[in-house]
Symmetry: C3
Subunit: 315 residues, 3 copies
């Protein structure tokens, strides 16, 4: 499980609301992890969080149920949606995972925010306008089926995201393919990732959104880590994304920074931003976290900022 | 706990929707079972699933709470509704169970879908139009109080389903009574069940719906099992229900079929359908499941079909 | 965990509804408690219940999602709201708690319903019109930060309840301060509590609601316990509250009664009521509970009554 307590704040450009002063932050979660093994030695498992469970609810107005209206909770209330749960089975053929898992492009690439990032309470460093984290995953509902296989330094994955059984014309299942390679350079491992993805589509949109990406990252013996990504997209309002991530760890202290930029097809459509995270480990699962994010969704847009500070407790 | 992953599909007649192509299926659950014993040796316990918990929620529109509107989750958010939880206390007097439990008629009878059925991901084989599984349980909210007592081959139960404190005229508590008998015929046990039920009623409906049913089922040494049910109903659109269920298990492989038919009081009002389920046990709790259901809600209605295929994982 | 089963009823003046006959009562909960310790010996922990978890949901009408409308569940779905979860860190400096916890005034005082009260299924004895239990806590969203420190017989606490980052004029963070003292009188401990609170305010209300309260309570060797409270409030429709609570325990049997009265600033605005609770302990965590509450929200209002009876099971 995990609990977080602290404060967070954001400006109006970030939240769109009026409640932009510093306020208390609490979050808590309990993760249920289950595993087993078949008679033939296949291993299988599943994971769901407390915040992904929950009964489908009745919706009431002044205490009286509204006819026909219901609240549907993802992981346990809707079999057509993963709702955050993941399920896998693993054997000599590799691993097949279904649910809230990375598509093959996301699986292959090391995004800038995953380079030496100790995290933050409100994920400020990975929610700014210049950040690209999930590529085209979630274009429909994010319920993904992925096969991945690793042999030595080499890994490969193929994934599908379905169209929820849509019969509309021009809809289709999204797919992705990705490759990883870990190159050993006299003790330092350099990780390469490359992949291609077509977005899932339940809405009859044509032509389909596509992305091709590459990443290179490494962690050095002195505690420094660094990585870059480049993603080329088509049939989307933006057509290129660049990012760089840096991390440094010394003793109990960790710090991370990333910068990302979307290049638009039209002048002024660029989105860009940067994120910072710092942490001090108190041991035993308690960590003091600071996070900051700043970004603009176009050259004309106001700068959106968010910040969080507090304790992250892992159990 | 249990997790399921696979694919499912249904036709328009089944789902009423347009998303009737094959799509991914994921479901996950974690069951919390608690038990204890009093100083006098009474045992007690309770059970609730992760998908039956969940906080009552605020309902928002574009992120802003809608005044007076709330999402109410059954098991833990509404004490007038069982929401899926069951609670019992047991002793020399038998067992008293409250919550999401079978009424006495359902308790006594072995329905066709419970005859050697290995189950399926989407319960296709027990959701077709000709299937009767819960008799008149749930006519109000399904919050049931049942006493049952078993002595040797003989069992008896009485149950109540309340009217949620309704003061409307002609409302009333539903009740049921049921009996079980297990007859030993040279090593093969034949199970007999019989019962009668009056439906709960919170809406001032008169006359009350009633049902009287009987079931006979047996499991044979060669892996075959078979059962039939007959239910006579009154004050409902249909007045009779017949069903037959068959099952066969050999090694890791199990297969089940059932057929059911409602006879209406008006010509053409018959509903009927059949279900199939097959499973292959991989051991360790992993089972490959296939389910199929097909039914018509009247002689004029289109045939509604559904199918599911995938892995069921028990932990 | 805990499960409750029984019956409850209330009159129209209590519930405002028409379903005021006796009806079944079921409630169930599972509590997840987590704890840890830092390298420097600080202890930390968190607690959340199954009924406080749950995924944020989609809201559907006849099965179709309503655009923009969502169900937001507190503890795990909204970081600006505690939703029932509590998180703490503790060391030589005392204990800092955040979330669904008592403000310092509530922490310091022993309210009438906490004097030898064995509890009930529907909390009838602490929900009558004359009952004051949380003082000004929850004036905004109840997400509270409290520091408390205890040294021997003396305890002190300071708490804050934020305004959710509101920028409206005249809004502000609520605060409270409280003191406890335990006086040993030849073997009987008399507990004194005193505190002051200003309510949190996210709505631009002025002047702010305030309360100052004091409590005295004691438990005697013969099984009797008794307590009184007095609270002086300002900038609220009522300006004074008095209460008295009594409890008695002998063997497996416990009984409790309390009486409370709000004095209004206008004639006839008094609210008052009393509560009764009785319990018989079956051992092993099973307790038979009875609860009753009766109150009037003004001298002219009808008397609101509620009652519950059943089994409480602790696991």
């Amino acid at each position: 499980g995990r609990a977080e307590m602290g404060i967070f704040t954001q400006n109006t450009a970030f939240s769109g609301g009026t409640n932009t002063g510093a306020q208390f932050f609490t979050d808590i979660d309990v993760t249920f992890t289950m595993s087993g093994e078949t008679d033939n030695g296949l291993t299988f498992g599943a994971s769901v969080d407390l915040d992904e469970g929950g009964a489908n609810g009745t919706v009431t107005n002044a205490g009286v149920p509204i006819p026909g209206v219901a609240s549907v909770n993802g992981a346990t209330g809707n079999n057509s949606d993963d709702g955050g749960a993941t399920i896998f089975i693993s054997g000599g053929f590799g691993t097949v995972t279904m649910g809230d898992t990375d598509g093959a492009l996301d699986w292959a690439l090391t995004e800038a925010g995953n380079v030496g990032n100790p995290g933050s309470l409100a994920d400020d460093e990975t929610t700014h306008a210049g950040y690209l984290g999930a590529y085209l995953d979630g274009a429909n509902d994010g319920q993904i089926l992925r096969w991945d296989y690793t042999s030595g330094a080499f890994g490969v994955a193929i994934s599908l995201e379905d169209d929820n059984g849509s019969k509309a014309v021009n809809t289709g299942i999204g797919y992705a393919i990705g490759f990883k390679y870990a190159l050993d350079l006299s003790g330092t491992t350099v990780n390469f990732g490359i992949g291609h993805q077509r977005a899932a589509d339940a809405a009859g949109v044509t032509p389909d959104a596509k992305a091709t990406g590459v990443s290179v990252s490494a962690t050095f013996a002195n505690g420094l880590s660094a990585g870059v990504t480049y993603t080329d997209m088509s049939n989307l309002p933006v057509d290129k994304h660049y990012s760089i991530g840096l991390g440094y760890t010394t003793g109990a202290f960790s710090v991370h920074a990333n910068y990302g930029k979307f290049d638009g097809v039209a002048a002024g459509a660029e989105a860009k931003g940067f994120g910072l995270a710092a942490a001090y480990d108190l041991g035993g699962g308690a960590v003091v976290h600071f996070g900051y994010g700043s970004g603009k969704s176009s050259t004309a847009a106001p700068t959106a900022k968010s910040m969080s500070l507090g304790l992250g407790l892992s159990f």
